[in-house]
């Protein structure tokens, strides 16, 4: 048992140190640009816990990030880097919006159920393409996913600018969705909606699938060693496609939870790189669904904080993206940390 606790602690060390290192480097970036990093971090973390509304909004920010992180983790466990979450969530969001606008359903629960189902289907389809192309044509999934992102963003933007455009609006967006398709806000003056339960349920489901089901076992084994899976009767292609479909479905959810919970209409470019943030979250969380939830909350705080920084200190909101870049970079090079540890040990030995 002690061994196990030790191992878990070790598992925690790496992401924690990575995150702190990233904060440190981001601090240097801020300092070089003439901002005070200490003031900035104080604003981000203390600012978040000032009022219920700021805390709530940080949490609300983390909902789509959670789902994005989960989507990337799901595919990641099966060995695919899903960089297509961005495109999948646009397709899901657009299909959900169309449903909400045109389905003659009065019941809110039924309506939301349908909207979510349809957007999951959309994301599933969009993600499935990546899986099918990789499985059947051995096409590089990263490039395919990125190209599909552009196609999805441009296509939905065409719909929002053309056939579905709200004639009264200056920007490219659809009409507002009816009241009965909206998520109820749980805490007044915040954007927290029931969508947060959806995100948590999804994370528990993913955990369950990988821990207890044979399908999850097969997905993971395909990601671990495709050839050995094949030799033992697991049809790699099929599970590769499945993992991308599931991942896409989770990504598709984001579109609807965002629109039905926050914006109430599809506006072009609404996502703001949520899909890519998902990559950073999943990487830092080591594809563990519960860790994703925690890391997402952290990222939600950073995200909300970076907006505060913009207001109070004039720091560009892109700072958030820079931080993510640094985090992903360090997660991808665990060897760096090993070197650091070895160096520290050597130094200590030198002293004694």
């Amino acid at each position: 048992m002690k061994e196990k606790a030790k191992r878990n602690l070790k598992k925690l060390t790496f992401p924690t140190v990575t995150f702190l290192l990233a904060l440190f480097i981001s601090g240097i970036v801020l300092a070089v640009m003439g901002y005070s990093p200490l003031k900035a971090y104080r604003l981000i973390f203390l600012g978040t816990f000032k009022t219920t509304s700021t805390m709530g909004n940080a949490l609300a920010n983390s909902i789509p990030l959670m789902l994005a992180g989960l989507a990337v983790s799901l595919a990641g466990k099966a060995g695919i880097l899903n960089l297509g979450v961005e495109g999948q969530l646009y397709i899901g969001g657009m299909l959900g919006t169309v449903c909400a606008l045109f389905l003659p359903v009065q019941n809110r629960i039924l309506m939301l159920f349908l909207v979510l189902a349809v957007s999951m289907l959309g994301g599933m389809l969009w993600g499935g393409i990546v899986g099918v192309l990789k499985a059947k044509f051995k096409t590089n999934e990263v490039v395919v996913a990125l190209m599909l992102n552009y196609v999805a963003i441009l296509f939905t933007s065409y719909l929002a600018a053309g056939p579905l455009k709200d004639p009264d609006a200056a920007v490219n967006q659809t009409a507002k969705i009816p009241e009965n398709a909206r998520f109820v806000r749980l805490i007044p003056r915040t954007q927290i909606t029931a969508a947060i339960f959806i995100a948590v349920i999804v994370s528990v489901l993913i955990w369950f699938v990988f821990q207890y089901t044979v399908v999850g076992y097969k997905l993971r084994s395909v990601g671990s060693n495709a050839k050995a899976s094949l030799a033992n009767g697991i049809q790699c292609g099929r599970y590769l496609i499945l993992s991308m479909c599931l991942s896409g479905a989770v990504a598709g959810l984001i579109g609807s939870t965002e629109i039905m919970g926050k914006y109430y209409r599809f506006t072009e470019g609404f996502s703001n790189d949520i899909g890519f943030t998902g990559v950073a979250i999943a990487a830092l969380a080591g594809y563990n669904p519960f860790a994703v939830v925690l890391v997402s909350i952290l990222f939600g705080i950073l995200n909300a904080g970076s907006l505060t920084l913009g207001r109070e200190m004039g720091v560009s909101s892109k700072m958030f993206m820079v931080m993510q870049g640094i985090i992903v970079l360090f997660v991808a090079t665990p060897y760096l940390l090993e070197l650091f540890v070895a160096w520290r040990r050597k130094k200590e030995r030198g002293k004694s």
């Binding site: 207890y212 089901t213 044979v214 084994s221 671990s224 060693n225 050995a228 030799a231 033992n232």
Partner: protein, 502 residues
């Protein structure tokens, strides 16, 4: 006279493992010095130290009496030390010429090769290498590739040439040819270090023999002062009996596997054979002659395009891998790390692989963790897998223990047919014995075993019947005792006895 190469107190560690422990060795100029030892005894590590791929923790190397600082292969070359690697260091997409000169092009930035070509052609003629400089490596046979490796070393002007297990991939005849080449090299004044785990070879070619065991030198002798028995004893550290397996009398039952007209390679004659209950069918042949295709076709990894495969009387030509497994087919893949285990996952995870459809472990799509753990722990101890706990990553285990893990996974499900591809490749002698014993046990239980191996000893010791593969076709198939080592060697090289029809 000064030694051509002298090692003094060489120690090399990998983490907690000491691969070479205080090695002192002296090699005379112009002799063939053999280093003998079983797999994992530290031979290759030692050679990599000499050739500059590894840096030892302590110790010194002297070349011609002078201390040599060898930190990279380039330094080794400076001291005229060259190595012919066990796994060829050749580039498939490039020509023989490019392969030889790379790193030592002897020209400016722009490639100019006329001079080098002339020089190399002279070498090829001198040693009768039969190599065409403009062939692409991917089109060459194993023997030719090895000669390219030797050319590479000669071109770099090596005086001390290290051969690392050079005969492991060769047919007996090719090995014979290599021996001639080595003697020729010795004749022309080169010093040879010959690394091997095969006793007879070292006795045949070596002037001096050094035995390595568990990273230490345990025995040194001139050839004339030693015997095979003595060497064997020192190598293993205990008395070994040669081929001392007990087995039940051979009384084969009904056919278990029937392969009819299945093609292994394009445009080659399809193969037909059968394996019966209670027998071991040895499939002999040099690597790359259709063995991998054969095992993968039987198991179902490769889609069968023609012919018919019957298993226990049922046509399984169209059956999936899992159906075959469930029907009682066990598979020990020849490429363990690619097809056999998942290095990054736990023993438990690996145990479930291929067994994930079995009722005890899979109820309505849910993994039966309790049951699984129980069974896995039982088999792991039964098959003597040395591990701390079942959650250990399998990648942390030695090759022998990984293979035992594969055996426990495959054999504990009471199979009727075992397809064993190169089951002892890269294992230490203890694990080899274990694998052999387990395979014989399965045969004695009345199961059928297909043993695919490039090791002639393994084939002749274990098989009841032998089938020889060459270039995707069956060269011969008969009872084991009708073959001799020599006749098998010829067949593996694609040569039939005179008077026989093609």
């Amino acid at each position: 006279m000064k030694a051509a190469l002298q090692l003094s107190h060489i120690t090399k560690r990998f983490g907690n493992v000491t691969a070479n422990d205080d090695i002192n060795l002296s090699i005379e100029k112009g002799e063939v010095h053999c280093i003998l030892g079983e797999n994992g005894c530290g031979k290759t590590t030692l050679m990599n130290v000499i050739s500059g791929l590894y840096r030892p923790e302590t110790g010194e190397v002297f070349v011609n009496g002078e201390k040599a600082q060898i930190d990279s292969p380039r330094d080794a070359m400076k001291y005229k030390i060259g190595m012919v690697h066990q796994h060829f260091m050749l580039f498939n997409q490039n020509t023989v010429l490019e392969n030889i000169i790379v790193g030592e092009e002897r020209c400016g930035a722009v490639l100019k090769t006329e001079e080098q070509r002339k020089e190399l052609q002279q070498m090829i003629d001198k040693y009768q290498f039969h190599v065409n400089l403009d062939d692409k490596i991917r089109d060459l046979s194993v023997g030719t590739k090895q000669r390219v490796e030797i050319l590479k070393v000669l071109y770099r002007g090596a005086d001390i040439i290290i051969f690392d297990e050079p005969t492991a991939v060769l047919t007996p005849q090719e090995a014979e040819h290599l021996m001639e080449i080595i003697l020729e090299l010795k004749e022309s004044g080169k010093t040879i270090l010959f690394i091997s785990h095969k006793l007879n070879e070292t006795l045949k070619i070596g002037d001096a023999i050094t035995v390595l065991r568990k990273g230490r030198i345990v025995y040194e002798s001139k050839k004339q002062n030693t015997t095979a028995e003595k060497l064997a004893f020192e190598m293993v550290g205990k008395e070994t009996k040669f081929g001392g397996f007990t087995r039940n009398e051979y009384c084969p039952g009904d056919p278990v596997l029937k392969v009819t007209e299945v093609g292994l390679k394009a445009e080659k004659k399809p193969v037909s054979f059968q394996v019966r209950a209670g027998e071991i069918l040895g499939v002999a042949g040099v690597d790359g002659n259709g063995q991998q295709e054969l095992e993968q076709l039987i198991v179902g990894i490769l889609k069968q395009k023609e012919g018919r495969i019957e298993f226990l009387g049922r046509d399984i030509s169209q059956s999936s891998i899992i159906e075959r497994k469930m029907a009682g087919m066990a598979y020990i893949p020849s490429d363990r790390l690619e097809y056999g285990v998942m290095e990054g996952e736990s023993l438990l995870f690996n145990y479930l692989l291929g067994n994930h459809a079995r009722k005890g472990f899979n109820m309505h799509g849910l993994i039966q963790h309790k049951n699984l753990k129980l069974y896995a722990e039982k088999s792991v101890s039964e098959y003597d897998v040395r591990t701390v706990e079942i959650q250990e990553k399998i990648g942390n285990l030695s090759g022998g223990n990984q293979q035992k893990m594969v055996l426990s996974r495959e054999l504990s499900q009471k199979p009727k047919l075992i397809i064993a591809g190169q089951p002892t490749r890269g294992l230490d002698i203890g694990a080899i014995e274990f694998v052999h014993t387990m395979l014989l046990k399965e045969r004695d239980k009345g199961n059928a075993v297909v043993l695919i191996s490039a090791e002639l000893n393994e084939i002749t010791e274990l098989s009841d019947r032998i089938l020889v593969l060459y270039d995707g076709e069956i060269m011969a198939e008969d009872a084991a005792d009708t073959f001799t080592r020599e006749s098998l060697g010829l067949l593996m090289a694609g040569k039939r006895k005179e008077g026989e029809e093609q």
